[in-house]
């Protein structure tokens, strides 16, 4: 069975000539269906750029990104790209910026269901179903984003991503703007969705504890490279690379036996 997402030898660089800056070097990743891959790294490690490569917002200078065996870096036609975009959905970090303040929640989700002619009235039932999936009532559809708390907004963003029924969901720092108790709410929702829907997810975060909580497999990024990958247990309990060890040793709240 081919993995949902297969990344092979992807390089990305920005700029030209002396200002050229290599951001990703030879990234290899495989994400099988139904599993969650946690991508950890510090700021500037290239994890968000990798997410953008997968959704097609950033073009790889070399290498392949395959979705279900189709190399998406070769896609040129508008229709193909459109189809690709619908198969991969991204849940952005900041729930305060990711929802259009001038559209009701219903309109936002209806647009995800049908980006061309979507309307809140036309897709009323479908919208309610999506909202129920993230434990929100149907009455939420008529309200505007500012009426919701950060955690609720993040759930709406997740509902929007799921409305497309994507093969792959990319969660980019989805909990880092949230308070601890709200973060737990969103993480629990993601866990439930993984269990119930068999979600395939690329979970990006700088917070190792959160990644450990969510992921089956983990890849550690540093300076645009993947320095270590494996099952969450293997990477977190028996890290092989010095950088991973440093990263883990820096996490607060561990019992200090080494220090």
């Amino acid at each position: 069975m081919t993995p949902v997402l297969q990344i092979h030898g992807v390089d990305v660089s920005f700029g030209h000539g002396p200002r050229r800056k290599d951001v990703l070097h030879g990234i290899d990743l495989a994400l099988p269906r139904g599993r969650t891959l946690g991508l950890v790294g510090e700021s500037g490690s290239g994890k968000s750029t990798l997410a953008k490569v997968v959704v097609g917002l950033v073009r790889a200078s070399s290498g392949q990104v395959s979705l279900d065996g189709t190399d998406v870096t070769r896609l040129r036609s508008r229709a193909d790209l459109f189809a690709l975009r619908r198969r991969v959905q991204l849940v952005p970090q900041d729930p305060y910026a990711s929802l259009n303040p001038r559209m009701t929640v219903g309109e936002t989700i209806a647009e995800a269901i049908d980006p061309r002619r979507g309307g809140a009235a036309r897709h009323r039932a479908a919208v309610a179903e999506r909202l129920a999936q993230v434990a929100l009532g149907a009455d939420a559809a008529d309200r505007y984003p500012h009426e919701f708390s950060g955690g609720q907004r993040q759930r709406i963003a997740i509902a929007r991503a799921l409305a497309v029924e994507p093969d792959l969901v990319i969660a980019d720092e989805v909990t880092s703007a949230l308070d601890c108790s709200v973060q737990a709410e969103v993480l629990n929702l993601l866990a439930a969705l993984r269990r119930d829907l068999g979600l395939t997810m690329l979970f990006i975060s700088h917070d190792l504890a959160v990644v450990r909580h969510v992921s089956d497999d983990v890849a550690v990024m540093h300076h645009g490279r993947i320095v270590e990958s494996g099952t969450a247990q293997a990477v977190f309990d028996t890290p092989r690379e010095a950088y991973t060890q440093l990263l883990l040793a820096s996490v607060p709240g561990r019992r200090r036996d080494a220090a």
Binding site: S43, G44, K47, S48, L57, V58, P92, E173
Partner: protein, 356 residues
């Protein structure tokens, strides 16, 4: 992370907004400075950028002024020779003006003339246009520069003082009065202000001369007339920007050092204020140059403005070309001046647009 924020993942160090910081700075353990530092000096980058801008403006100006002749309906030669000219005179005039050549050749002649400082002769008075400009430019420049000085010297402190006095919602009455008064004066055009000044101070009170440029005191009313509006506008901008700056984290840091008020506002707030203020002021001051042109008519000021209006009414093409060109260059230089001042005050602006 915002989707359009490409370099976010790429910047390992704390590079400034805009183009990458010069080498030897962000995160690098090596000492900055040295030969490489000089070569990568932000001033050099700045000079290149600005030279490009100046060249662009000059090109546009030269093309535009040249186009005045080309686009004008009717025959420039007829305008030059007068309505009663015979066909022979017209042909002769056309030849004298070079109108019988191709457009490209005419443009070449025009540009070559510019390099020699030859802007042609007035159709009306036969004077050399360059002489007209050397005669009158000092008057206009005097007015404009004094206006600029007054605007900055009065407007910036006024705005700051109001912002400091009304910080955190204090003295709401003063704030309201300030907004109303500056709004009123700011939306009064300079020619109306000039007219009112002439009326009240010149004619009713007879304190100051109202026309001509014979004595230094004759400068007072025109300068007041052109600067009063921009003073109000600048003061409002400064007031707004100051309250933004006062709310910044770094000002809290400075407050945490319990600095004396003067040091807090002058050393910590002012430089940050000037960047945004002067960027906007640049636009305002260019407008002030336009105001000068208009105000000269009110006060019968012997500057470029009165001359060009006269020339337009009489369709005196070479004079129009020359004056529009010179005024344009003046506006461009004024902007350059402001950018240099900005660069001195806040080196971050050199590398590009300041974070606004």
């Amino acid at each position: 992370m915002a989707l359009a924020n490409h370099p976010s993942a790429a910047a390992p160090g704390g590079a400034a907004a805009g183009p990458p910081a010069p080498p030897g700075t962000a995160g690098a353990p090596t000492a900055p400075g040295g030969l490489r530092g000089v070569l990568a000096s932000p001033w050099l980058v700045f000079a290149m950028r600005r030279l490009g801008g100046v060249a662009l403006v000059l090109t546009v100006l030269v093309t535009l002024t040249f186009a005045i002749v080309q686009l004008m309906p009717g025959d420039p030669a007829r305008v030059a020779a007068g309505n009663n000219a015979t066909p022979e005179q017209l042909t002769q005039m056309r030849h004298d003006l070079g109108l019988d050549k191709s457009v490209a050749a005419q443009f070449g002649d025009y540009v070559a003339g510019l390099f020699r400082g030859d802007l042609g002769h007035s159709f009306q008075t036969e004077e050399k246009v360059s002489d007209i400009i050397t005669d009158r430019l000092p008057y206009t420049a005097e007015l404009a520069l004094l206006g600029v000085a007054v605007v900055l010297v009065v407007g910036v402190p006024l705005g700051m003082a109001i912002a400091v006095a009304c910080r955190d919602g204090r003295r709401r009455r003063l704030d309201g009065g300030f907004t109303l008064a500056t709004g009123l004066v700011g939306s009064t055009p300079e020619y109306v202000l000039g007219t009112l000044l002439v009326l009240v101070i010149g004619i009713q009170l007879e304190w100051l001369p109202v026309a001509g440029a014979a004595t230094p005191s004759a400068l007072v009313l025109p300068v007041v007339a052109i600067s009063l509006g921009p003073v109000c506008t600048i003061a409002r901008i400064v007031r707004r920007e100051t309250s933004v700056v006062l709310a910044q984290d770094y000002l809290r840091t400075a407050r945490g050092r319990r600095l004396p008020a003067r040091r807090l506002y002058l050393r910590h707030a002012l430089p940050n204020l000037l960047t945004s203020t002067l960027t906007l002021a640049g636009l305002l001051l260019a407008g002030l140059l336009g105001g000068t042109v208009v105000i000269e008519s009110v006060f019968a000021w012997p500057g470029l403005g009165t001359r060009v209006v006269e020339a337009i009414t009489l369709r005196d093409l070479p004079v129009i070309q020359g004056v529009v060109l010179v005024l344009g260059v003046l506006a461009c230089l004024l902007n350059l001046l402001i950018d240099i001042v900005l660069g001195l005050l806040d080196p971050r602006t050199l590398s590009g647009k300041a974070a606004s």
